[in-house]
């Protein structure tokens, strides 16, 4: 008892703040999401996702864009992480800094940068046009591709660092052992390196997926009016339409589907063997 008391006292301020500004509003929003236009209790708002194809498509699009972002960050981040793992300590520091440096700039500014680069008059289209590779400008913005590009840029750092951390933990003599036993480099990668950085991949995927699902700024700026995702619609309902109950329902649907997908993914990854090998 006398050991718990100081812990309780020390954590009390943050607990009270969390309770007051986080849990309580969540609870109020949750209750609000069950209100209909007549201010009485109903499932109306949630039923939209079963009945209205517009909302079903938005949910599906949000998941689709997030999954694409996870895939592109994963593919792009892996070689970088592999390079970091075999580099010297100094080089690792430099790369980590380079990866994190863009985050010093507001995501709004960075996204506008992309708008300039990817637009119809942007240098990518201009270059491809002048080289005669394309006849008319590619649509790289205001579609799902644009959103995925923007989100990839925003979140790739998390993926790189998550994978690199798990690669650092792999004893370099393991690949020597595989090699002397007869495994080529490709074989060693797939049978030793990749299985051993599953925890890093898992952390990176979960992180990037959750962040992409709830991302607002990038889809709003780079998706335009045609590629609306759940957070954008929820924002509109609350700020423009002033339909708070529907906005709240959208937010909870987003939360629910993220939790559901992440736990399903966890279930798949955490096999008996995974727990045996990686449990600390």
């Amino acid at each position: 008892m006398n050991k718990r008391l100081p812990v309780l006292l020390l954590t009390a301020p943050s607990m009270i703040i969390l309770l007051g500004v986080f849990l309580l509003p969540m609870l109020l929003m949750f209750l609000l999401s069950f209100e209909n236009a007549q201010e009485s209790f109903s499932f109306e708002n949630y039923l939209l996702f079963v009945q209205d194809p517009f909302y079903v498509e938005i949910l599906w699009r949000t998941i689709r864009v997030s999954l694409w972002t996870v895939l592109t960050t994963l593919v792009l981040a892996f070689p970088v992480a592999m390079y970091m793992a075999q580099a010297t300590g100094k080089m690792r520091g430099i790369i980590t800094m380079l990866i994190l440096a863009p985050h010093l700039i507001s995501v709004v500014i960075r996204n506008f940068g992309w708008v300039v680069v990817l637009g119809e008059g942007g240098w990518i289209n201009q270059m491809l046009l002048s080289l005669g590779i394309i006849d008319e400008p590619l649509r790289l913005l205001y579609n799902e591709l644009g959103v995925v590009i923007g989100l990839t840029d925003s979140f790739i750092a998390y993926m790189v660092l998550a994978i690199a951390t798990s690669l650092y933990a792999i004893d370099p003599s393991l690949s020597k052992a595989a090699s002397i036993l007869g495994a080529s480099r490709v074989r060693t990668f797939f049978t030793v390196t990749l299985p051993l950085c599953v925890p890093g991949i898992f952390a990176g995927v979960t992180l990037v997926f959750s962040l992409s699902m709830s991302a607002f700024v990038t889809p709003a700026l780079m998706g335009g009016t045609s590629v609306k995702v759940l957070p954008v619609i929820a924002y509109e309902q609350i700020m423009s339409t002033l339909n708070w109950p529907l906005g709240a329902a959208l937010a909870f649907l987003l939360l629910g589907s993220t939790i559901l997908l992440v736990s399903a993914f966890t279930k798949i990854v955490e096999t008996k063997r995974y727990k045996e090998v990686f449990a600390s």
Partner: protein, 366 residues
């Protein structure tokens, strides 16, 4: 019948940037031989092993395994077995999967794999751990599995890279005996890299002593111990007392040395002949000095002194004796039986002339 040469190194040289780490290394290893590369860290022993394994390429010279030139052949095509200091078992595989890894790459049938895995597990006396993960095993068990994994592919050559260094003293000795037994049982040609002279002495058919990238001596453990080719070899293999002096008399194959601190030492003429008046270094191993409580005048091969310090180590006691300005290390069995000898007492140190090693002094040391 002529001896089969399994491994041959011909004038191997390796540089890192401008540092020569292995210099003109030539060696022939016979089939079934257990050979050790012994030396302090940075002597080039691990670099040489890595060149034999194929992780590094020699800058100059040829490497032949079973008569085939191996320069440029990647490790995975060399058909070798290797055991690492850090065990290097794949943590995400069970013991059986670890051992079967090499067999799988060699496209063995399931039944055959199972049988061979079980056979090597029996060989390393761990028959019941097939389904465990490496982290559920002790350090000694892990290293046994690593040895099993290396042996199961029936390699043409077994490379051991300081496999005992991460184990505590008792386990190290146990596994050392185990390695000896395995080698006798299987007879696989083995190269063992170590910085521990005891390991090298007890296991090897021959030892290669390396220092600063060069071979100091190649010989059997007894040759290395009793007839060291250089001061380095003698001082690296076990403790020794080092006295500096001048040769005063040479008579046939015997000689006398007057040391700087006043001892008179007689010795047999060394391999590198010395002349009267030449400065030499005299070595006497601590276990070759006999301690007694007698008092006798100082003379040839004996010195009076005072017992300074003792460390009881069970089977023997390490003593330090202050004698005429020198501090001699002496190893005594059963010091407790020398009545009345305690730190502070006067003692007599004696040794035989055949146990004295004389070498020309290196450099201008006074």
């Amino acid at each position: 019948m002529e001896k089969m040469i399994d491994v041959e190194l011909r004038n191997i040289q390796k540089k890192f940037q401008n540092n020569i780490v292995v210099h003109d290394f030539s060696l022939q290893i016979e089939k079934g031989e257990f050979i050790s590369f012994l030396g302090p860290s940075g002597c080039g022993k691990t670099t040489t092993l890595n060149m034999i394994a194929g992780f590094l390429e020699p800058d100059e010279g040829d490497l032949l395994i079973k008569g085939k030139r191996m320069n440029g052949v990647p490790p995975y095509k060399r058909e070798l077995g290797m055991v690492f200091q850090t065990y290097s078992l794949f943590p995400h595989m069970t013991v059986a999967e670890n051992i079967a890894y090499g067999l799988k790459l060699r496209k063995q049938s399931k039944a055959e794999m199972q049988e061979r895995v079980q056979r090597v597990l029996d060989l390393v006396k761990l028959p019941n751990v097939a389904d465990r993960y490496p982290k559920q095993l002790s350090g000694g068990q892990r290293q046994r599995i690593a040895i099993a994994r290396a042996l199961v592919i029936e390699p043409s050559l077994l490379l051991l890279d300081e496999p005992l260094s991460n184990l505590d003293a008792k386990l190290r000795e146990e596994l050392r005996d185990e390695l000896k037994r395995l080698h006798q049982e299987i007879g696989v040609t083995t190269i063992f890299v170590t910085h521990d002279q005891e390991e090298a002495l007890s296991l090897s058919d021959r030892i290669v002593v390396l220092n600063h990238g060069s071979v100091e001596q190649i010989g059997t453990p007894t040759e290395i111990y009793h007839n060291p080719a250089s001061e380095f070899v003698h001082t690296f293999i076990g403790k020794t007392n080092r006295l500096h002096g001048v040769v005063t008399k040479v008579e046939g194959n015997r000689m006398k040395v007057q040391t700087d601190k006043g001892f008179v030492v007689s010795a047999l003429q060394p391999a590198k002949a010395v002349q009267e008046g030449q400065r030499v270094t005299v070595f006497i191993r601590p276990e070759k000095i006999v301690l007694s409580a007698e008092t006798a005048p100082a003379g040839v091969n004996q010195a009076n002194g005072q017992l300074m310090m003792t460390s009881f180590l069970g089977a023997f006691t390490e003593c330090q004796v202050q004698a005429g300005g020198e501090i001699l290390d002496v190893k005594v069995q059963m010091l407790e039986k020398l009545a009345g000898v305690t730190p502070g007492s006067s003692v007599l140190c004696q040794w035989h002339e055949e146990d004295v090693l004389v070498m020309p002094a290196e450099g201008d040391r006074l």
